[in-house]
């Protein structure tokens, strides 16, 4: 009998929650957003999702072979990165751009650092930002949603944030008739990246993540709260120039970013207090870029910037050790 017994030290039981289950749960939570993306943007969206996901998994496998490391595609993290990248692309992005993005995300964003757990920046956002800077034309050509079966051809248009920025730069005022259409914004009937347009689909997925306890409230609440409060203060100061908080909330990538990108465990702080600081930083930078930066949207940049600040935040928000008066100094 004795040669068949495990002799490991305690604890002898485990929660059953494993990395691959976490990754899978996040993938499930993005399915509503993927569905809406395909509904509004049709086959191009499906193509982007497929190219990015398959591409990311393939590059992960390629890296494992090149670096002689363990093949870890079963943990689901590469597939998740691919899906997140696709959701952050404009519907008219060509297939080669998506494939290039998948390569950048996995190789530059993740594997050069040592793979899962070691990357300081969110890999999907690294890819998105590299593409945005390198291929500004393809990455900012937006088309209006053309729901499946509507028979409407996709028309080139601007995102609500882009429309606002152009109007403010030209006239110093909000564009005409901007206040209308919040219902459309909420369901996702507007121009934007394929995964960011539908608040309702994203919130559905976020609820699932809360229910499964994959994410906690701190990052989304402080991120979105900061955008609403700071954006709201500007709006109160000059409502003819600055958009209102609801506009900030529903247009652009705030909801996708706050619930699914900023909450990436590897690149965000580990303590609740740290998450609040991090979320606040994300929100502040987002509003500043949106209102005063060169780009109409700032969520990706804001998250990447705060990713860089994460080790620092972690250092200053260490939990208080039981029985000590102050935090451990270092």
């Amino acid at each position: 009998m004795s040669d068949q017994l495990y002799l490991s030290s305690s604890p002898h039981i485990h929660s059953g929650e494993t990395t691959d289950k976490v990754m899978r749960a996040v993938i499930y939570s993005l399915l509503p957003a993927c569905g809406v993306a395909i509904y509004f943007f049709g086959l191009p969206a499906l193509m982007l999702l497929l190219v990015c996901t398959v591409g990311a998994v393939a590059f992960e496998a390629l890296c494992a072979k090149l670096f002689h490391s363990k093949l870890a595609i079963a943990d689901g993290s590469a597939a998740l990165t691919g899906i997140l990248l696709a959701l952050n692309l404009p519907p008219s992005a060509p297939w080669w751009l998506a494939l290039l993005g998948a390569a950048i995300a996995i190789i530059v964003g993740k594997q050069v650092y040592g793979g899962l757990g070691y990357n300081p920046f969110n890999p999907a956002l690294v890819a998105r930002v590299v593409l945005l800077i390198s291929f500004p034309v393809q990455m900012t050509s937006w088309s209006a949603p053309a729901p499946l079966g509507s028979g409407v051809d996709a028309l080139t248009t601007a995102t609500p944030l882009g429309e606002w920025k152009t109007a403010v730069m030209l006239t110093g005022k909000l564009p005409e008739g901007m206040a209308s259409g919040f219902g459309s914004y909420f369901v996702g009937n507007m121009a934007g990246c394929i995964g960011e347009v539908s608040a309702i689909a994203l919130l559905l997925g976020a609820l699932y993540l809360f229910w499964k306890r994959i994410i906690t409230w701190q990052i989304p609440v402080s991120f979105i709260g900061t955008v609403v409060v700071v954006g709201g203060l500007f709006w109160l100061s000059d409502a003819t120039r600055y958009p209102d908080p609801l506009f900030h909330l529903l247009t652009g990538g705030l909801i996708l970013g706050a619930f699914f990108m900023a909450t990436d465990m590897v690149t965000s702080p580990v303590t609740g207090r740290g998450m609040l600081v991090y979320g606040f930083g994300c929100g502040l930078v987002t509003v500043l870029i949106r209102l005063f930066g060169g780009y109409p949207e700032g969520v990706s940049f804001a998250i990447l910037l705060m990713n860089a600040a994460t080790p620092l935040i972690d250092r200053y928000t260490r939990p208080r050790v039981f029985g000590t008066v102050a935090e451990v100094e270092r």
């Binding site: 068949q4 002898h12 899962l116 465990m265 590897v266 939990p319 039981f322 451990v328």
Partner: protein, 440 residues
């Protein structure tokens, strides 16, 4: 409803107590051979004082205490000493033990002296506790008379009885409080006298409402505060229990007496009652035998020295092929290599997992999910300390307060990457102690 008292951090693993919680304690019959280890407590092992061939009676001292932090060990039945030799011990090594073949008479030693605790002085009571071999029965097995003799500069004003039993599966203390509440109460009154305190708490996890009701009834009209605590592991860890009940935080590196508190397990209180009022030494205890690998899980009253295999027989034998034998609970118990190991004074449970119930998987990289951090009741960063320990950077592990780890195992339990966190922290603690020894 008012929020139940508790501590920050921790988690609630599936408790699986339903298997045995409703089962009355059964008396485990004597085995063919009792193996009485001379080391059943923290501190110096006892020294054998009988010879092979000697006839001994139940309660007779077979191993004398050596030093202050030590207690004697006793024969747990009458019979003949058949060997004094190293035998398998719960620590994994073979350690000296007195082996007794029971004669079936189960005859008590003659000079047991019953006494009225009221009539005894505090010193007389403590002598009785030491002579009876009373140790902490929650698992730590620290000699009670030492714990009850704090140095003069550490005044004690509070006594806490630990009836939390937060380890999953175990129901020994639960049944004890249900079936012999009077014994527990008697023990509390003796402790009250020894420590001269009137601020007394009895903490019980809220998942044992019957035990809470029973103890409240038993303590009705007294100043003993029977408190229901939130069901969360490790609620029964000494420092966490003190914080939950009194709001006092034992300083880092300190002991409960630093905040004026002494904690004793309810099982210890019951043993104290027998030792002082009846003069009976600690020769038996309640042990929960449970798990998927046992046919009929039970709570047993077990003589010290009973081989674990005998306990399993009393519970209908093994159910299938076992994959893990654990002495104690699943969070902090010790895996055993053989059922030849005897139950001792600290054996609160025997947990057996069937083949297939223990999955062995490769750990993955840390994904910084923070679960270990939010679960750590000591406020540590387990994954950070473990990462330093893996690089043998022990100065850093010390800076990050590795020595404050209480080894509850919440970090390893919750880690989705299956990283052996607490195991690595134990390793770091060992290395830090080694370093400190060398520096002296």
């Amino acid at each position: 409803m008012a929020r139940l008292k508790t501590f920050p951090g921790g988690l609630h693993p599936p408790d699986n107590k339903a298997w045995t919680a409703a089962k009355a304690i059964e008396i485990c019959p004597l085995p063919e051979e009792l193996i009485i280890p001379l080391s059943q407590h923290i501190g110096a092992p006892a020294e054998a004082c009988v010879a092979v061939g000697d006839k001994v009676k139940k309660g007779q001292v077979v191993g004398r205490a050596k030093g202050f932090v030590s207690v004697p060990v006793h024969a747990s039945t009458s019979g003949e000493v058949t060997a004094i030799e190293p035998r398998p011990h719960a620590s994994g090594r073979n350690l000296p033990a007195v082996v007794i073949a029971p004669d079936g008479e189960d005859e008590w030693v003659d000079d047991l002296a019953a006494a009225d605790p009221e009539a005894l002085s505090v010193e007389e009571i403590k002598d009785r506790l030491r002579d009876a071999g009373i140790v902490g029965m929650g698992g730590a097995t620290f000699p009670a008379h030492v714990k009850l003799s704090p140095p003069g500069e550490k005044p004690i004003d509070t006594l806490i009885l630990n009836g939390v039993e937060c380890e999953p599966y175990l129901t020994a203390d639960h049944r004890l409080m249900l079936e012999t509440p009077g014994k527990v109460r008697q023990g509390i009154e003796i402790l009250r006298k020894v420590l001269a305190v009137d601020n007394i708490y009895l903490g019980i996890e809220a998942n044992k409402p019957d035990a809470i009701a029973q103890m409240r009834e038993e303590c009705a009209g007294s100043d003993i505060k029977v408190e229901a605590l939130e069901v969360k592991y490790p609620q029964g860890a000494e420092k966490q229990l003190i914080l939950a009940l009194t709001g006092r935080e034992v300083p880092s590196g300190g002991l409960p007496m630093d905040v004026g508190v002494v904690v004793q397990n309810v099982g210890t209180a019951a043993a104290i009652a027998d030792a002082v009022t009846l003069g009976q030494p600690l020769i038996e205890r309640i042990c929960t035998v449970t798990g998927s690998g046992v046919n009929e899980p039970k709570n047993l009253r077990v003589r010290v020295g009973t081989p674990l295999a005998h306990l399993v027989e009393q519970c209908g034998g093994l159910d299938g092929e076992p994959s893990k034998l654990i002495m104690g609970g699943p969070m902090m118990g010790m895996a055993q290599l053989t059922l030849d190991v005897p139950a001792t004074r600290g054996t609160s449970g025997l947990l057996i997992f069937r083949r297939g119930d223990i999955k062995v998987r490769e750990p993955g990289p840390c994904i910084r999910c923070g679960r270990c951090v939010s679960a750590c009741p000591a406020g540590l960063l387990p994954t950070t300390i473990a990462a330093y320990a893996r690089l043998s950077m022990f100065d850093e592990t010390e800076e990050f307060k590795a020595m404050d780890c209480i080894e509850c195992g919440c970090c390893s339990f919750s880690c989705p990457s299956l990283i052996p966190l607490v195991q690595t922290l134990r390793y770091a603690k060992g290395a830090i102690l080694e370093k400190r020894r060398k520096m002296q």
